[in-house]
Chain length 720, copies 2
């Protein structure tokens, strides 16, 4: 946390490149710093300016500054940057913000310049935000080094694009929302999302962390995993919401059927953010909807929502949305209904949604009286008011005053209640003073019913997100056999010594067995007579025989699998046939022999796999086999490792899940064995950094357990 204190809580700030020319960045920023009344010491640095800048005498260099400097804002162009960075480091500056463009985003030369800056900074532990960014804002110390007119509030906003910062801020201003901290982090040459999510997560003034991302910048998967870990820990404290753009290519990618290509990085990104409990939104407006809800609302204790509406249409629309958002309609008690009926005429529905049905036209106080009743009902966890007034004020002064009085009472009521209240008003865009009062002193008012409902959905959903993470953190990882690594090492050494990355199936099975996977025994025959002998030795009624060759990965295509071999004689024939097929398929294939294993039958065909994501590292996949994965793409992903609860969710979220629990009179499969297998594989691929890809396909899930029928493991060309 302390790392970002120089950015968000500096005691002294220097603006390098300050200017008195109103057309220049150096002037705008200087003015912003003065206007925001920064609480610490402020120094302007200008090589050229002789006169005062906005009434303050500039220094020629940061080294001339008498006191120490926590934060330097560098408003200078790339060509002058390195010596200035050096000066800052020499001065003991703790953090610098590099605003200028012309670095990594322009190509290799710019990237090299970034590396040089970092090299200088690292020597003294100085941190760099940017380059190519729009600066920083921090409300507790009145710091605005951003050139944008940002207000105080409770949102922590971290942006990769300055433009979206402007965009979102216009919207935020309309809603009277502001920031505890705001950072446009640009190229993330040094400081990255992970640093900011951690800092803002622990910052007392921040109620919600919002991020606009185009992608995570990672030097290695450690960075990706670090972000994930920090976002997850932050979610345990407070909500984190993300808009991530640049997603469209993903869909096109998920074409082929095996783990590697299905695991298009967007799928993994989705899974990762979901695992971290992050709230995903699709538009900047929705990001702010979430920001507003958490800035202004209490946290609900459950999902039972009361809807108070004036006009049936809004009520129906709210009810429509509730279902998809995981909100339940609160069942109002007899007592509550009686109280509502005492307030409302017979034509007003008093079951949830409660419809004022035009009553406010004669008496606006019904909003407040009904809200009082609904908030007092212990079976109501949150209140949505749809179709609130805001237009009567145009008719007369009396109405204006009445709207204001009711608004004050409503706002007070919401402030005192220990439940969230969100509201929709058609008059939102006009910003009548009554609504402004409610927003500033009570609860959020949205311009559309859907935004209000989504906001309540986010509030209610947050508890579930925290619960999932807590459950996962508290869960026991699977017991890994003690001597697994030694066993695996022997196999990997052999594979590496032969310059291979593909394990043959016998090897893959040994690796899985070392990790406690339950596989029927296998034997390797190297001539037809041995095949006959091993058939006997295996002692199974029927065996399956497969060619074993590092050059033949798709055995079925090569005629490399023979099923239902049920006699010594047939085993002998099968051997000869398999060898002949293999030679036909690839005359130069290196053939290790033929594997014999008992034939397995029945169960639900599943696929459990892993792939290696360039951002987050090892990830696991689960789905039903065959057409479910190939045609329907009905699969789920997680960044590895996952414990039991997450493996369980992963399995249950595929559409075909009912096939595992049993349909059409069929017995369900042993789900806990399946969860164990997924979890075990996820720990295996995290531990074995050599492994790039695993395909257990198919796996038969039965009433009794999980049988791996075919296994494929591929290593990284070089160990990661």
């Amino acid at each position: 946390m302390s790392d970002l204190n120089p950015l968000f809580r500096p005691r002294s700030v220097a603006l390098i490149g300050a200017s008195s020319d109103p057309k220049k960045y150096g002037y705008w920023t200087a003015k912003g710093l003065i206007d925001s009344q920064f609480t610490g010491d402020l120094y302007f640095i200008s090589r050229t300016a002789a006169a005062d800048i906005l009434g303050q005498k500039p220094y020629a260099s940061i080294s001339d500054v008498p006191g120490s400097v926590d934060l330097a804002i560098l408003g200078i162009s790339p060509k002058y940057i390195l010596p200035v960075i050096q000066e800052c480091a020499d001065k003991g500056v703790k953090a610098v913000v590099v605003v200028a463009t012309g670095f990594g985003e322009t190509g290799p030369e710019g990237k090299a310049l970034e590396q040089k800056m970092i090299a200088i900074a690292q020597k003294t532990g100085m941190r760099i935000m940017g380059p190519n960014c729009m600066g920083i804002f921090s409300s507790p110390v009145n710091l605005n080094a951003s050139t944008i007119d940002l207000d105080d509030g409770h949102m922590g906003l971290v942006l990769q694009s300055g433009n979206f910062g402007i965009d979102i801020n216009f919207n935020a201003k309309t809603r009277g929302l502001g920031y505890s901290g705001w950072a446009s982090i640009g190229n993330q040459a040094d400081l990255r999302f992970a640093d900011f999510v951690e800092y803002l997560g622990q910052d007392e003034d921040t109620r919600v962390v919002l991020m606009y991302m185009e992608g995570l910048r990672v030097s290695s998967v450690d960075d990706g995993r670090n972000f994930l870990r920090k976002a997850r820990l932050t979610t345990l404290q407070k909500p984190v919401a993300v808009i991530k753009i640049g997603r469209s290519k993903a869909g096109a990618r998920a074409a082929a059927s095996h783990t590697g290509s299905l695991a298009g990085s967007e799928n993994i990104f989705d899974a990762a953010l979901n695992q971290a409990g992050v709230i995903r939104v699709e538009t900047p407006n929705e990001l702010l909807d979430v920001g507003e809800a958490f800035s202004r609302c209490k946290m609900p204790k459950g999902n039972r929502i009361a809807i108070l509406t004036d006009g049936g249409g809004h009520g129906v629309m709210a009810t429509d949305m509730a279902e998809n958002l995981g909100l339940n309609a609160a069942v109002l008690s007899e007592e509550t209904q009686k109280k509502l009926r005492a307030i409302l005429k017979p034509h007003c529905p008093i079951k949830n949604p409660v419809d004022l049905a035009g009553t406010p036209e004669g008496d606006m106080w019904v909003f407040d009286r009904c809200a009082e009743v609904l908030l007092a009902d212990p079976d109501v966890d949150g209140l949505v008011i749809a179709g609130l007034y805001g237009g009567y004020c145009d008719f007369s002064e009396e109405f204006r005053q009445l709207e204001m009085d009711v608004a004050k009472s409503l706002a007070d009521r919401a402030t005192k209640a220990d439940k969230p209240v969100v509201m929709h008003s058609m008059y939102h865009a006009q910003q009548p003073e009554s609504l402004v009062h409610i927003m500033k002193h009570g609860f959020p008012v949205y311009g559309s019913v859907d935004a209000a409902m989504r906001a309540m959905g986010a509030l209610v959903g947050f508890g579930a997100r925290q619960g999932k993470i807590q459950e996962e953190l508290a869960a026991q990882p699977p017991q890994l056999p003690e001597d697994r690594l030694a066993q695996v090492q022997i196999i990997f050494d052999k594979v590496r010594s032969q310059n291979r990355v593909n394990l043959v199936e016998t090897e893959a099975r040994e690796v899985l067995r070392a990790y406690g996977f339950n596989l029927p025994s296998h034997l390797l025959a190297t001539n037809e007579n041995e095949a006959a002998t091993l058939f006997d030795e295996l002692g199974a009624k029927k065996v399956v025989m497969k060619i074993v060759s590092p050059d033949i990965l798709h055995k079925t295509d090569a005629g490399g699998v023979i099923l239902n071999v049920d006699s010594e004689e047939k085993a002998r024939d099968a051997y000869i046939q398999l060898l002949s097929n293999a030679k036909k398929y690839d005359a130069n294939a290196d053939i290790f022999g033929v594997m014999l294993t008992p034939m397995l039958s029945g169960g639900v065909e599943c696929i459990i796999g892993s792939s290696y994501d360039s951002t987050f590292g090892p990830a696991v996949m689960f789905g039903l086999g065959g057409i479910f994965v190939e045609v329907l793409k009905d699969v789920s992903f997680r960044v590895a490792p996952v414990n039991g609860p997450e493996a369980k969710r992963m399995i249950s979220e595929i559409n075909a899940y009912p096939l595992l629990t049993g349909v059409r009179g069929q017995q369900g499969v042993n789900l806990s064995a399946l969860e164990n297998a997924v979890s075990m594989l996820s720990y295996m691929v995290v531990e074995l950094s050599d492994v790039a890809e695993v395909d257990l396909n198919p796996v038969f899930a039965t009433e009794d357990g999980v049988d791996v029928v075919d296994a494929r493991i591929v290593l990284h060309p070089v160990n990661k």
Copy 2:
């Protein structure tokens, strides 16, 4: 069309219940009528008012009005309504608008009052809009009888809820949008959505028809089908967009697995609007986004879109969305790229999206110059500009003027081009004059990138909607056999004579055969010896034997099906077994005998079914059988009948479609036979009004054709 001329083009209007009391509806409406400067004769009617109302002398009764009256607005309460309706009818009024609440929405008494009004009106052919509505607006005759401040424009808006009319209008005003016609149609006692969609569809001043629906009011399915037909014909002229609320219960319903319960009415509603080419939106805001696009844009000739952006973030977001909206990125020609490079510096990407990357800060004209180049490229069908300026005007008068000059040029350019242009600006909410100019004189400006992209998506998608309808209208219906009705009548007569609604399978097969479905022959045995004889007669190697009883619908559950019977002896045994099982299952079951048909094998298991929707009547369903329908709910619906092209779309839109075209090296099925079967069934259920439900489940689709394996037909209790 002529029906609604008295509403939208009245030559004379009377306001009954006019008032000079500024707190009353009768005053607001009178004022609205005067302020809007209605082009025809305007009469105020008041039983009580002695003095002038807004300078005009009121009449005591409509019968006192000297001239004829086309339209009467009734601002009076339900208790006075019937005599006034009678007076209007006597006067020869052509249409009345009943504004008051307290009718059908309150219960049976109110409904009865509606019926009495209609009975009076029908005698003279007078039409009624309402009751429980907010009136009407028509721009060509300057009629505003709505109490809402509506502006002239090109949207036709029809609303079931007045509140949403207010809501949407606030938003419309912000965007400078207005209406050709606007109607709040309330309870739809007489005039309904179908009337309005037809009228506005033919109205020259209307460019787009927008509807806010809670549901269609239908007296019979004829009303539902009538709406569908008119919406469809309107789509051939101009776009129709709908927001429909009250949808949430649908999801919960689609639980069970057979046609009837899967066909929850929301599924059919979705299908119906889709068949009519209607654009569905989810929020009032999106409705207006679509309204704005079609009010202000040219129609595109294709889906190749150029994106011009200032700032990469907006460009990425636009590109993200394009994919889901069916928009293709235009491939810019060498020539276009050359021209763009001449305008833009090397750091600006000039492949689509074209990114100005900050250039406008120094030179705003680049927006206009690049737009000129992009609009001139013949491979560009439409242009989206993201991140347009609008904030420079706050800096200086010079910038303000520059923004305005560029805006004028951009607007002119868009007006002259034969392609649509839509725009996003972060400064939209501030409504700077430059953007206002563009909106009023050029093209739409949206406040978010996603809204701009959705708008372009709607514009591009409209051609495809029209194309689908044209294709369907031009398609040949299937050839129905000549003597089918006589054959079916014999079966239905027998079923009805036994007070049954369930056809037994042998009957269902006969009905299908009469419609030309290709079914293997079947024979009915009534004792075990006959079963043996008929086995021979059938001449199949293997037969399936099924119990035939109107009391046993789920034959498998009753042990009523035996497969693979391959000898006379086994046929005899099977007969005895089936009878015994049936008796055990239901001792009182009426058993007709046992049916023998040849065993069919192979093919892809499908389900083709029909159900009867209370709004739209007969509807058809298609899906793959077994778990695809039971677990995955992977089915498609259409209102019957459908011709080949629609049947083809219906089949291809299920997720599992690739299983029909062939995956994993398997041959695809005969798709045209499958299309024929769906189309044939759809015509059959339209023609046979007795039929409530059909389940062809399973149907085996093979390379060669379609084999119906099991058929179930249920009739309506009473013929519809």
